[in-house]
């Protein structure tokens, strides 16, 4: 990762450094095609995600954004193509990767507490059968503190607000202490305070050299939150630094309508 002068970072409010993409490749996707019931939802995706970027995946509904993440994580089986994490298959690199699914993908009435959900983040490093102990509990409590949810550790998860539930999910990913974080719409249904809290944590992760990949919906905030972006609509439209490729041309190609970005500095 190279230092870049601040003037060059036109839209980004991220301080310090913006990655150039010249460094190590964290995630590499080759010719990935994924289909549901023989209907392709992702067509021949080639994608290289450099280490240390905070990347948004944008695209219209049904563009395959979540599908892309799930395929990278081995949750969905592609019909063609391959994915590598730091040059090796996901199965071998599992411990380097943390995943925050969409909040709506789980049953929040499940009988468990906030702390327990965060502890689940430690299960991956424990492997089968072995049970979490004091060390895992300590890590979970630290993660809860980071997201400002320590006071809610004993709370049943259905008793949390939408924003609090999202923070719990984030804490669960933090506790995995991964190198690459995948998040599926972490800002969905959260209030402004939580959104800021979450993005600050994501920026901190990036500063610590982690790679963060976020499925994102709000185009207005892309330049403010992210330094890297991938446009996706079944096919990959473009990928690269926000300052270079986040423009009307790519937005129009992705969303199919004549798109005008009105971005406040």
């Amino acid at each position: 990762m190279k230092k870049e002068s601040k003037e060059n970072i036109k839209h980004s409010s991220l301080s310090d450094e913006t990655p150039t993409g010249a460094g190590t490749i964290a995630v590499k996707v080759d010719d990935l095609t994924v289909a549901y019931n023989y209907k392709p939802v992702l067509w021949d995706i080639d994608l290289e995600i450099p280490e240390g970027v905070l990347m948004a995946i944008v695209g219209p509904n049904g563009a395959g954004k979540s599908t892309l993440i799930k395929s990278i994580l081995g949750i969905l089986k592609p019909i063609a193509g391959s994915v590598t994490i730091y040059g090796k298959s996901y199965e071998k690199q599992r411990k380097l990767v943390a995943y925050v699914p969409q909040k709506g993908s789980v049953d929040w009435d499940f009988p468990t507490t906030a702390l327990d959900v965060v502890m689940m983040g430690t299960y991956g490093s424990l492997g089968w059968i072995k049970r979490p102990g004091q060390k895992e509990k300590k890590a979970a409590l630290e993660a809860l503190e980071k997201v400002g949810m320590l006071a809610f550790q004993g709370r049943q998860i259905s008793q949390l607000s939408g924003g609090q539930q999202q923070r719990i999910f984030l804490a669960r990913a933090l506790v995995q202490n991964a190198s690459i974080y995948f998040m599926d719409e972490p800002f969905q249904g959260v209030d402004a305070t939580t959104e800021i809290a979450i993005i600050n944590i994501l920026k901190e992760l990036r500063k610590a050299g982690k790679t963060v990949i976020v499925v994102h919906h709000d185009l207005q905030t892309v330049p403010e939150y992210f330094d890297w972006v991938t446009f996706l609509n079944v096919k990959k439209i473009a990928t690269g630094p926000v300052k270079d490729i986040f423009n009307d041309d790519n937005l129009t190609k992705t969303y199919g309508i004549n798109y005008k970005v009105s971005i406040q500095e």
Binding site: G74, I75, P101, D107, P111, T113, V117, M120, R155, R172
Partner: protein, 386 residues
């Protein structure tokens, strides 16, 4: 109590525990109906197994029947995956087909085998003590006790070993998959245990009632706790209680043991459903009533805070201004006064300092949704509880 009675209760209790454990996870996975499907669809497996082994308690028969259970699950999922019908429809298509094959097999061979549809549907626990297991000529107890005992032992061992994996894959399939705990392996593991348990319990309580033993204790426990381990413990306790109490109900009424156990299970659920401290119907209704009153109170206090004009705050005109019926206005006024939130002088209502603070805090909380503001109010007001 003679030894046969004791043995029957022991078998029933073991069956109840063996059912409650997978049942808890089925309920949490919203798969209660799949246990119904399995319990019916294993019939052809049992019949064919019986043709081969001539013994209802043979391990071969149990494995064969459990395999039919797995086939049921696979078929249901296959039909569902085509996207042409929904899961409940798929279940409704698969299990009657398999069950009817079993019924035809029994009917065709009714003269040769000791197996009838009644026993299959309802089980016959009362006869369990007559079929003894002899090892080297020594009587070591009823065969079915050993069968269900072994199944329970396996179930508990698997539960202890894979509790973490079961929990995470039940709560969040995606996370489980990304962490390397294959949800498919855990899913089919749970389905296998459910199938084997169902076959084991089949002999004791029959195809229909085994579903009740799986679902009712777990559903009752679900209403009582927010902790998975406690839910399991409660489900197990409800199962044992219903098994033993149900046996004695059958004894007093001279009725079917399986039927009595299921009736007790139903009553246990009904009681929990009505009286559970937070999720029970009565508690929910009480809470809603309280919240309604408190919302009224807050509306009233806010009105006082917003209006200085004397005519807006006159006792007799309040109901006109807030557009409430007199009786509601009166009860809210009484509540506010009882809590020292208002002061009435010359029929003019004004906020006390306590009332003023309460209103500010409550509005603040409603607008920001920040918990810190109302920590001290939570104990007194339902409005601010989760």
């Amino acid at each position: 109590m003679n030894s046969a009675q004791l043995e029957i209760q022991l078998i029933a209790s073991i069956v109840a525990v063996a059912c409650a454990i997978p049942g808890t996870f089925l309920v949490l996975r919203k798969m209660a109906m799949i246990s119904d499907a399995i319990s019916h669809a294993i019939l052809p497996g049992i019949v064919i197994g019986f043709f081969i082994t001539q013994d209802l308690n043979s391990p071969v028969l149990i494995l064969l029947a459990a395999l039919t259970g797995i086939i049921t699950v696979v078929l249901v999922e296959y039909i569902q995956k085509t996207g042409l019908v929904k899961e409940d429809t798929a279940i409704g298509l698969v299990f009657p087909a398999l069950f009817s094959i079993g019924v035809i097999l029994i009917a065709k061979n009714a003269n040769d085998i000791h197996l009838d549809v009644d026993a299959v549907l309802l089980g016959e626990l009362a006869f369990a003590p007559f079929d003894r297991l002899l090892i080297g000529g020594t009587d070591v107890g009823p065969k079915s006790l050993w069968v269900v005992g072994s199944i329970l032992l396996v179930t508990i061992t698997l539960l202890i070993l894979f509790f973490k994996e079961l929990k995470v894959s039940t709560f969040d399939k995606g996370l489980a998959a990304s962490l390397g705990f294959s949800p498919a392996v855990i899913h089919y593991g749970l389905m296998s245990v459910s199938s084997i348990t169902t076959v084991g319990a089949f002999d004791a309580v029959g195809a229909i009632l085994v579903v009740a033993l799986m679902i009712a204790p777990a559903a009752s426990a679900y209403l009582l706790t927010t902790d998975l381990k406690k839910m399991l413990a409660l489900a197990i306790s409800f199962g044992i209680f219903s098994a033993i109490f149900g046996y004695w109900v059958a004894h007093w009424l001279d009725a079917s043991i399986a039927g009595s156990i299921t009736t007790v299970l139903g009553l246990v659920f009904l009681l929990v459903y009505l009286f559970a401290p937070t999720k029970g119907i009565i508690a929910v209704m009480y809470r809603e009533k309280q919240q309604q009153t408190e919302v009224s109170l807050l509306t009233f206090l806010l009105h006082l805070k917003n209006h200085d004009e004397i005519e807006e705050r006159h006792v007799n005109h309040l109901y006109e201004h807030i557009n409430w019926q007199k009786i509601r206005a009166k009860s809210v006024l009484d509540l506010a006064q009882k809590n020292n939130m208002i002061l009435i002088e010359n029929n003019i209502v004004s906020l006390t300092q306590k009332g003023d603070e309460f209103t500010s805090k409550a509005i603040d909380y409603i607008m920001t949704n920040e918990d810190a503001q109302i920590e001290d109010m939570k104990a007194d007001f339902f409005l601010f509880r989760g």
